[in-house]
């Protein structure tokens, strides 16, 4: 079965490592095209926003990619719960918020994950830091491997 998979990176590439999510999408799309894989859609933006609830509604699997300041080594992939967090601001709709809005508006609940990629510098400059690029490469390898069998991620989400 051909799954509909949506990879969505967000952040501001004008602020160094904040562009990790956008860079992930760019590189992942290159790889998908090289491999001739089908069923993928990509998007990239400054931040998540309400219309993304519609964008994910018809997908089987969604991976949001974002830069992270969390205490993680390089990257992690976590399932996204339909958050009841209502502190929506136009600059910062959370992935959980989008999943919840999608469920409430369209009664759709795609398997959704957030890829957190560790970043370090956030100044007004283009370009990723060397350390974050290494994290990006590791994340790319891992997700490529995982998406060779997307069904596993989709089923895992149901358990979650």
């Amino acid at each position: 079965m051909a799954y509909k998979i949506f990879i969505y990176g967000y952040g501001n590439p004008g602020r160094q490592d904040d562009g990790l999510g956008n860079a992930f999408v760019e590189k992942f799309e290159e790889w998908v095209n090289q491999e001739g894989l089908k069923g993928f859609e990509f998007d990239s933006n400054y931040q998540l926003n309400i219309e993304d609830a519609d964008a994910i509604a018809e997908k089987d699997l969604v991976i949001f990619a974002d830069a992270s300041v969390e205490e993680i080594e390089d990257f992690i992939l976590t399932p996204v719960d339909a958050s009841s967090d209502v502190s929506f601001t136009t600059h910062s709709a959370s992935p959980g918020y989008i999943v919840k809005l999608c469920g409430d508006l369209f009664n759709k609940f795609p398997a959704t994950y957030l890829l957190h990629i560790k970043g370090y510098e956030w100044a007004f400059k283009e370009g990723l830091t060397e350390k974050s690029q290494k994290n990006l490469e590791k994340a790319l390898q891992d997700i490529k491997e995982k998406l060779k069998n997307p069904e596993k991620l989709i089923n895992l989400y149901k358990v979650f």
Partner: protein, 483 residues
């Protein structure tokens, strides 16, 4: 003994703000201030960069209205590359930019109203915040919430088709635009499957105006009186007095409708507009020089625009405009909550304008760029969703930006927002010693009528939390709430 209340953070408003409420011994509000407490200095950041980078760089000011900054910067650079002061672009260049701008206005207004404001209207400003949000709207009024999502999506797709991409769009360049619309894009916007076509957008826009009018009739006391106060109003208007969100001359009227700034050219704005700095806020306070700091401040944005213009050049919005004007017997409307009524009329106007433009063959072919004799200074102005936006640049002989002055919409509305906050405080906090959630939201409702976004005004990225602090006459904090 005077007391002071401070409110921070403001939810569903971007940037970072703090509201301080001073209360005297009798429990009366003696003073309220909206403080903007972050500073980014964007105007310095852009100095030294090649001028042609400005339309892309300035989009970093704000992820919410990057198109407004993109276009205002491009308009300033039109002057610098010798493409005139608003009338020198090719038909394709100007019309593509206008399409981009109306797409931006529609999606921004829709986000503002449906997702940030409608929870207050549908559930009441003192309703439980657990339901007073867009998730609550989605559950109780799913049709409205879906309309908001799909209208925003339509506007975003227009932006993508005209600016080239969602992030750091490159469509507008000094002297014009860098692409045409394709036939496929045009046909999709005109005749795409429901709801993503322009006729549906117009129909939904009419529904939205009718919804607000119906709400206003049932809640007249609140809508007409909450944070209502007289002021001057300023905006661009087309030279014939029409509403024009993309280009025009600067007009201001006073609270009675007398013209006090008589259709002056945008390149001359410094002769008429000054900015006051106050030691308690990073956001400046613009005013009309002729009338001084105390009497020269003004409102901008949808309400101001409908107060300054003589008519709207699209038929459905004009019909709504006539009703809007009749409500105040042709005088300026000074009711803060009527910003939302004006905002939705502009949504309808934007949708109508987009349909007109999408049917124009100039979008599909024709020269893209105009060039002329280079100048070392340029000013670009437009009516951004939240109000008049000024971009002013000077360059040196190496084509580097040496001066940038930006007066953003939120800054123009600084004094009115302070006055609105004071009105809300007087209505909801007089004789109180504890800050309730309802009180905090009342203050936020006043700010949100003008603007859900303070971030570009303060030049700070990120969320806009708000703190409210209640202080007595000796500056003792008697209550403080954050959210």
């Amino acid at each position: 003994m005077e007391q002071k209340i401070t409110i921070e953070p403001v939810t569903r408003v971007e940037g970072h703000g703090k509201v301080t409420i001073h209360i005297d011994d009798e429990g009366n509000i003696s003073q309220s201030r909206l403080h903007i407490v972050e500073f980014r200095g964007f105007e310095r950041f852009i100095q030294g960069r090649p001028y042609w980078e400005a339309p892309v760089l300035v989009q970093r000011l704000c992820g919410i209205c990057p198109v407004s900054h993109h276009l205002a910067a491009a308009k300033a650079l039109d002057v610098i590359v010798g493409a005139g002061t608003g009338d020198g672009l090719t038909p394709t260049g100007e019309k593509m930019r206008r399409l981009m701008h109306y797409g931006q206005t529609l999606q921004s207004h829709v986000l503002h109203f449906f997702h940030l404001v409608s929870p207050d209207l549908l559930f009441g400003i003192d309703a439980d915040p657990v339901i007073r949000n867009i998730i609550g709207v989605a559950k109780k009024h799913p049709d409205l919430a879906v309309q908001g999502v799909m209208m925003r999506k339509f506007g975003q797709e227009i932006i993508k088709a005209t600016a080239g991409k969602k992030i750091h769009g490159t469509g507008a360049i000094p002297g014009g635009i860098n692409k045409h619309l394709t036939i496929e894009e045009r046909d999709s916007f005109l005749n795409g499957p429901d709801p993503l076509n322009i006729d549906k957008m117009i129909s939904w826009s009419q529904d939205a105006v009718n919804f607000l009018k119906g709400y206003q009739k049932e809640n007249k006391e609140f809508i007409d009186n909450f944070a209502a106060f007289p002021s001057n109003h300023l905006s661009l208007v087309r030279k014939d007095g029409a509403l024009d969100l993309y280009h025009g001359v600067i007009r201001a009227v006073d609270s009675e409708g007398n013209k006090i700034l008589h259709d002056v050219e945008s390149q001359d704005y410094l002769k008429y507009i000054g900015e006051e700095v106050k030691n308690w806020s990073y956001m400046k306070f613009p005013y009309m020089l002729e009338f001084g700091k105390n009497k020269g401040w003004y409102r901008v944005g949808p309400l101001a625009r409908l107060n300054t213009c003589d008519f709207i050049p699209t038929p459905l919005a004009q019909k709504e405009f006539e009703e809007f004007k009749a409500y105040t017997n042709g005088k300026p409307n000074n009711m803060s909550m009527h910003y939302h009524w004006a905002r939705l009329i502009e949504v309808l106007h934007s949708a109508e304008m987009m349909k007109e433009l999408l049917n124009d063959p100039d979008l599909l072919e024709g020269e893209l760029v105009t060039k002329g004799t280079k100048q070392d200074e340029g000013i670009g102005m437009l009516e951004a969703p939240r109000g008049t936006l000024f971009h002013h640049y000077k360059i040196n002989e190496h084509d580097q930006v040496v001066m940038a002055n930006l007066i953003v919409s939120t800054t123009n509305n600084n004094e009115p927002m302070n006055v609105a906050v004071n009105h809300a405080a007087k209505q909801f906090m007089t004789a109180q010693r504890k800050i309730t959630e309802g009180m905090m939201n009342a203050v936020e409702v006043a700010i949100r009528a003008y603007d859900p976004c303070l971030s570009c005004a303060t030049h700070a990225l990120g969320r806009m939390p708000l703190e409210v602090v209640m202080v007595d006459g000796q500056n003792n904090v008697i209550d403080r709430k954050r959210k």
